[in-house]
Amino acid sequence: MTPSTPSTTALLRAHRVHVAFPGRRGAPDARAVDGVDLDIRRGEIVALVGESGCGKTTLARTLLGLVAPTEGGVTFDGRPLEYSGRSLKAYRKRVQLVLQDPSGSLNPRHTVYDAVAEGLRIHGHRGDEQAAVAGALSRAGLRPPERFFLRHPHELSGGQRQRVVIAGALVLEPELLVADEPVASLDASVRGEILALLLRLRDDLGLSALVVTHDLGLAWNIADRVAVMYLGRIVETGPVEQVLTAPRHPYTQALLSVLPEAPGDPVVLTGEPPDPSRVPSGCRFHARCQILAGGEAERAGVAEACRTRDPGVLTGDDTAQVACHWAAAR
């Protein structure tokens, strides 16, 4: 079954985005996002994967306008994002956020009705508020919606809370949803339903989504494209079928090889991702790269390049790309 084909113009585009957080007292800046181009088209689900500290959460928040980039910019529907109060507020109606922890995302003192209606009230919704709330709850899978109006978050299960958060985002009828680890805190058996919901929203409403996750299986389940991030840069991007079954970047290969059911030997990288304030020279992955360490890079003649030359920033389009000297030399 093929998903609906996304259109070719980008709905949301990040262009040469850099986000640096100042270090304290003379320490170097933490370069959370160090040059990223990313396009998301209408009707497309893009998975942004990486480990903690790679900058994916910061990038997601930058795309939402919650964080202003230190360099580069974000464009939505052809127009660059302005960071004034009014234009950001208008932007919020079109791009919405779903956070990881549904129990923390809902104010424990507000009822479900209030939580979903909040967006409508902020934007001064004219028309029947109750109908809009009920519609959003239904679309998020909570039926009959009236039964949930007066409940509080602590009376609901994790899956139901996440649906309430999704309903709160849907009620504004956005065009794009940014979901930060939408199922990480949910039980395994509930995961499928929430992911199925996101797919259904894409199919029925044409909703695009950027899903930030560390779970590659999630990307396999619902994403059209995947972008793998490491230390503030996207190191490989492309259609999910291609990147996840035939990865070209050593980091992607290592990540896939350690999954429990992966074929072949697992490549367990030693150590941990370095500090974003101390990005290695050359290719930022070279210090942990199994290809460089194993001598294959030497044999391919790119070892020196790996240590000294930055592979550059990948473009945001939907072609399969990889930021690696060794992969490019093959």
Binding site: R92, L97, P108, R109, E118, E129, R147, H154
Partner: protein
Amino acid sequence: MTSENGTIKEQTALAVPSRSLAWRRRRDSAARFWRQYRAHRAGLFGLAALLLFALPALTAPLLVGDDVDSVTDAPGGPLEGPSAEFPFGTDQFGRNLLGLVIWGARVSLLVGLLAAVLSVAIGTLIGVTAGHFKGWYATVMMRITDWFLVMPTLVLAIALATVMPRSLLTIVVAIGVTTWPTTARLVRAQTLAVETRPYIERARALGGGHRHIMSRHVLPNVMPLVLAQTTLIISTAILAEATLAFLGLGDPTVVSWGALLQDAREAGAVSSGHWWYLVPPGVAIAVVALAFTLCGRAVEQVLNPRLGVSR
């Protein structure tokens, strides 16, 4: 809670449905609050004591008559001991002390409540805005708060009371503007904690501005703390009022417990052993202050860590 609400079709269009939902929710949460409060024996005791004082205070004109403080029409002889006719005895003018204590309750409770409300209002406003906006505004506000915190409240209150005209309003203002710093600091700390929660970020992502976040998210979460603080500050305020009146800074035309104590001292009740003049007002102040403290602690325990059952 289920079919009672009805489906969308059954609701009359635009018949302010969300307001009726809000009322039902408030009623439910008030019932829940009372059920939990009832479980605290100390809180119930405090509440009972308060009612014991509040009811006579409210009905004083009917109960005692408003001429009880009339010096010329005093019913009894000076400084008579407790008897069947005068359960608390009489003062140096022959006035019925029981009646005076009941009248005094009105002033003491009123001033205490008003002063506490003023104090908590100032403290909450400063605390929430300092916690939310941070930056230089917060720094300035917190330094001012620290300054007020360090100043001895009583000295400051006395200073204010002496320069302002002598009236109940002066007392209320004097207590209100000197006791807000504790509330401000607590509220600011709570605001900072609340704003780290993900639902604040969600509110921002939905498009909420400063006013929305402070009023719809921060304030309701800070309210339990504020309520508990209010009840605790009421007892402080009552004690402060009594002190100021005792020192002669209160309104000389009204009867209050502190004023009674001052009169007692001037009448030499301490040295001459007329205990019935001193003990009732003193005990009344102590009991009311204690009652408010107990209620405040019970409210705090009920509202504080309760986020309901976790699954």
